[in-house]
């Protein structure tokens, strides 16, 4: 049998893989390596450069703006991930129940995923800057009578709100896909046992959709860590530097601040953070997976 023989590989297979492998290396691996190389220099993105050893990395740890961006990004990612998954799972349960016009509602709740994040954030930016303060003033609510985006203690919440509004759509569909793999008999058996709905969910449904919970947690956390579009459209990093995410800081200071080498070093630290969190998350969730 040709396809599984241990001998020489069919040349056609090599030609199928080679262009992609070369392109992948050129567009991803080489930038990663050259970027890593430049982190040991003082390169500004143009002109001359010289080696500076670990100076970029040491300076990163002493830079309050950088610490601030990590604090904001983690705060955003953790709150968004929790909210996305709680809301998406509840919504999926609702959409999977015996509601009328099921297809219509599924289509509607997935709609935010069809829209560009940037434009959605621009629409909400207007609402939060103009309409909500007007409502707050009319109702005499002090906290809402000025724009939440102009206050450095509340601006991050608006970014979380808009991020969640959008990301719930995708996670809901993933949970729905999971709920459809739960056989009808499971519910019948539970009903005979007289289990309450909550118990039914906790003991039967949730363990069965655990793999989908894992996918959603990992994906939504990873996507949330990269938050960029919402920041650009809602606050542009402000007020001050209160809502600069890591990606936003790398973009702004890397391109406009002449901090090519420094912000690439920031990227490497960010990379290590993503790796550590992803593996920790996968280990934690997959250990739950097998215990369930």
């Amino acid at each position: 049998m040709q396809t599984t023989s241990p001998g020489r590989i069919d040349r056609a297979y090599v030609w199928m893989i080679a262009p992609a492998a070369i392109l992948f290396t050129a567009m991803l691996t080489i930038p990663l390596l050259t970027g890593f190389f430049y982190t040991f220099t003082n390169y500004a993105g143009y002109g001359d450069w010289r080696f500076v050893g670990f100076a970029n990395y040491l300076n990163l740890f002493r830079d309050d703006v950088v610490w601030g961006s990590y604090a904001f990004t983690l705060l955003y990612a953790v709150s968004a991930t929790i909210l996305i998954n709680v809301i998406a799972l509840s919504l999926a349960l609702l959409l999977n129940s015996a509601i009328k016009a099921q297809t219509f509602f599924r289509g509607l709740f997935f709609l935010p995923n069809i829209l560009p994040v940037l434009i959605v954030a621009y629409i909400f930016q207007y609402l939060f800057t103009n309409n909500l303060p007007a409502i707050g003033q009319a109702l005499g609510w002090e906290w809402l009578s000025t724009s939440l985006l102009a206050n450095e203690n509340t601006a991050w919440m608006v970014i979380v709100f808009v991020g969640v509004w959008q990301a719930v759509a995708f996670s809901t569909i993933v949970y729905l896909a999971g709920l459809q793999t739960v056989p009808e008999e499971v519910y019948e058996a539970a009903a005979i046992d007289g289990a309450s709905r909550w118990e039914q969910f906790r003991r039967m449904t949730f363990p069965l959709i655990m793999p989908f919970f894992t996918i959603n947690m990992v994906l939504s956390f990873k996507n949330s860590l990269g938050v960029f579009d919402q920041v650009v459209a809602l606050t542009n990093g402000g007020p001050g530097t209160a809502t600069q995410s890591i990606s936003f800081l790398i973009f702004r200071n890397g391109f406009q601040g002449g901090e090519y080498a420094y912000q690439t070093a920031n990227g490497i630290i960010y990379f290590i953070l993503v790796l550590v969190i992803s593996f920790a998350q996968l280990r934690f969730l997959s250990s739950k997976d097998t215990n369930a």
Partner: protein, 275 residues
């Protein structure tokens, strides 16, 4: 029992309807705002416009040069989808059929590892490199979407390829079909459902993306639709209704497609998560 069930069904439907307001109200607001004058917008809030200012759409159309923005977005999206479908499925097929070879397995993990490399990490070097190579344009973007989607798409495709019985390919080989012939005429069509999933996900990504066009496209004449909204913010700030008209035109093409292909899109996304 039945009666109780159906009243429960109605109650849950009512709940779904109320919740759907969280999506419908912002969209309603976007539509009515796009049809007002700036003066009217300031005082009317969520209300309907007194006179419907369709001119706002015409203004936004010429201001952002909508037709050429649309073409740029469409070229990039179609290019990314086609190139992704052709190359990623081919790589997945060749890898999956040779997983018993150590170097192929290593290559597989090499590709998959890209899932842990968020774009901002390589953003600055990639931008420099595309500028040096002269692909800081639509073609470069198409290549980048194809490469950066590979890791996730490989996961989707390989499990699907594994499920295709080898016997089909063998009998074709006996009939004298080449490896390429087997892939194009037998395997690729059999991948149909997964091609749909990968196509939908790539289309949504490339069409709606902002960061990659922002940093890669250097020629001001080539902007994607989302990028144009960013570029025109300064001018939009003096006339919000025109800005909202522009937003609506930018989202309209894909929303229109979605209205008609909604079932297909959702089942495609579901298939991706059930692999």
């Amino acid at each position: 029992m039945n009666r109780q069930r159906s009243s429960r069904g109605w109650a849950l439907t009512a709940l779904a309807a109320v919740l759907s307001l969280t999506i419908l109200v912002p969209l309603y607001f976007a539509v009515v705002t796009a049809l007002k004058t700036p003066a009217e917008l300031a005082e009317s809030g969520f209300g309907l416009p007194t006179t419907w200012r369709w001119d706002n759409f015409a203004t936004a159309w010429t201001m952002t040069d909508f037709p050429s923005r649309l073409v740029t977005s469409a070229v990039i999206t179609v290019g990314a989808v086609v190139l992704t479908l052709v190359t990623n499925s081919m790589v997945a097929y060749a890898i999956e059929r040779n997983m018993h070879r150590r170097w192929v397995r290593l290559l597989f993990y090499y590709f998959i590892a890209a899932m842990f490399v968020p774009f901002p990490i390589i953003m600055l070097p990639v931008v420099r490199q595309t500028a040096i190579l002269g692909i800081d344009n639509e073609a470069g973007l198409i290549l980048l979407y194809t490469v950066y989607g590979l890791a996730f798409n490989l996961l989707l495709y390989t499990s699907f390829v594994r499920a295709i019985p080898l016997e089909i390919e063998e009998s074709a080989a006996v009939d004298g079909a080449s490896r390429w012939g087997i892939f194009w005429r037998i395997v690729f069509p059999l991948l149909g459902p997964m091609n749909a999933t990968v196509g939908i996900l790539t289309c949504l990504w490339a069409w709606n993306d902002f960061l990659l066009p922002l940093v890669i496209l250097t020629d001001p004449g080539t902007q994607t639709l989302p990028l144009a909204q960013y570029v025109f913010q300064g001018q939009f700030n003096v006339n919000y209704p025109v800005a909202f008209a522009s937003y609506l035109m930018a989202i309209a093409p894909l929303v229109l497609v979605y209205v008609f292909a909604q079932r297909w899109v959702i089942s495609g996304v579901m298939r991706g998560s059930q692999r």
